[in-house]
């Protein structure tokens, strides 16, 4: 059982600068060649100020979070079970986004081999004025490292 006291534990915001090259490489890695991720003129003609990032791009953002520290356990393995994003607006090339991570829930769920420990980790991205840009939620099945007896 994970420590319920972990709920609410958070990391300080970390600055992520959204670079065009990073957007391009991310879209290429997915195999998504929509010109909205590559071509400035196309993006402007589509009504955006500049190229935008694919919806899962926040997965590439850094945060200061160390899950071991946040959850307070050694981790043997993590299984990514669910992922969700809420977007206030698209992410644009040139954005400077501050990402912070917090433990939004820990609980047990019945699994195939007994109870599973679940942690829900929420990332929040804000622009320099403090406006919310996105929220991301990861639901992880956590197998804590066995403590030495």
């Amino acid at each position: 059982m994970l420590d319920k006291n972990a709920i609410g534990r958070a990391s300080p915001p970390t600055l992520n600068e959204v670079e065009k090259g990073a957007i391009r490489r991310f879209a290429e890695a997915i195999g998504d060649y929509n010109p909205i991720y590559y071509d400035e003129e196309y993006a402007r003609a589509s009504g955006y100020p500049t190229i935008i990032a694919p919806p899962t791009f926040p997965a590439s953002f850094h945060s200061a979070a160390d899950l071991r520290e946040l959850l307070g356990v050694g981790i043997k393995s993590l299984l990514h079970a669910e992922q969700g994003f809420d977007y206030e607006r698209p992410i644009f090339a040139g954005d400077r986004i501050y990402v912070s991570t917090r433990v939004s829930d820990v609980f047990e769920r019945p699994g195939m081999s007994g109870k599973m420990d679940i942690a829900v980790i929420e990332d929040e991205g804000r622009d320099e004025e403090g406006n919310l840009v996105f929220r991301a939620r990861r639901t992880l099945v956590v197998r804590a490292a066995k403590e030495t007896p």
């Binding site: 890695a29 997915i30 195999g31 899962t56 990514h80 969700g84 977007y87 607006r89």
Partner: protein, 225 residues
């Protein structure tokens, strides 16, 4: 020249997104994704490590598959803005697997000049097995007219569109007001291009006519560039 945009008025509950078959996943793609995402978890890039922890080989990170399903949405909803996107990872995707992304409109609603469609999404491998399941909410302009009004600083077209369930759509499709019947769920044999081409003929559902207070559309036309 940007591709033609998708507008709320053209979408019906039950519409299918044109399926997207991705190229087979290979280890080079896994390396590229690791580099692009900054996630160098060795189970995705280091074959020896993956085998040492009991896996038959490296496997794709769930977020890569979520990115593929995201492409399905963005390709379809050009001009729309994604508001929400959630998935559940069901089955691992291995090198050599082909991911096929699919989706269907599950609901549509609008209020106060903001219009949303809800999409059910899923991804299958080449064996037809479900590897991921999810949903998304997209915000769209009601119509080209609405977009032009808003981009020229005018108020949006306001049409109250209550949430529609899939069962309501079936009822509507059966009613004489929807001659094409294209809102019927399960219309898998429908040609998506034909559907998009045919939108203009079925945009008039009586209860969705713009409210009288927003009937100043000719003025909006003048404001168009």
């Amino acid at each position: 020249m940007p591709a033609r945009k998708l507008y709320f008025e053209a979408i019906r509950v039950g519409d299918e997104l044109p399926a997207l078959a991705k190229a087979p996943v290979d280890r080079v793609q896994l390396s590229r994704y690791a580099g692009a995402s900054g996630d160098f978890n060795p189970v995705h890039v280091d074959e020896l490590y993956a085998k040492s922890v009991g896996m038959p080989s490296v496997y794709a990170p769930g977020m890569l598959v979520m990115g593929m399903l995201g492409q399905l949405i963005s390709d379809w909803a050009r001009g729309g803005q994604m508001r929400r996107y959630n998935v559940r990872f069901i089955k691992m995707v291995w090198p050599g697997d082909t991911v096929v992304c699919k989706g269907r409109v599950s609901d549509r609603h609008g209020s106060g000049g903001r219009y949303f469609v809800e999409i059910d999404l899923w991804a299958e491998n080449q064996k037809g097995e479900l590897v991921m399941k999810g949903s998304s909410q997209i915000q769209l302009f009601y119509s080209l007219e609405d977009e032009n009004r808003q981009r020229s600083g005018q108020s949006p077209i306001v049409v109250e569109v209550p949430r529609e369930s899939l069962s309501n759509a079936t009822a509507n499709a059966a009613a004489p007001t929807s001659p094409s019947g294209s809102a019927a769920p399960g219309g898998e044999d429908e040609d998506p291009d034909e559907r998009h081409a045919g939108v203009s003929s079925k945009k008039t559902v009586p209860r969705e006519k713009p409210a009288a207070k927003t009937a100043s559309l000719p003025a909006a036309k003048k404001a168009k560039k």
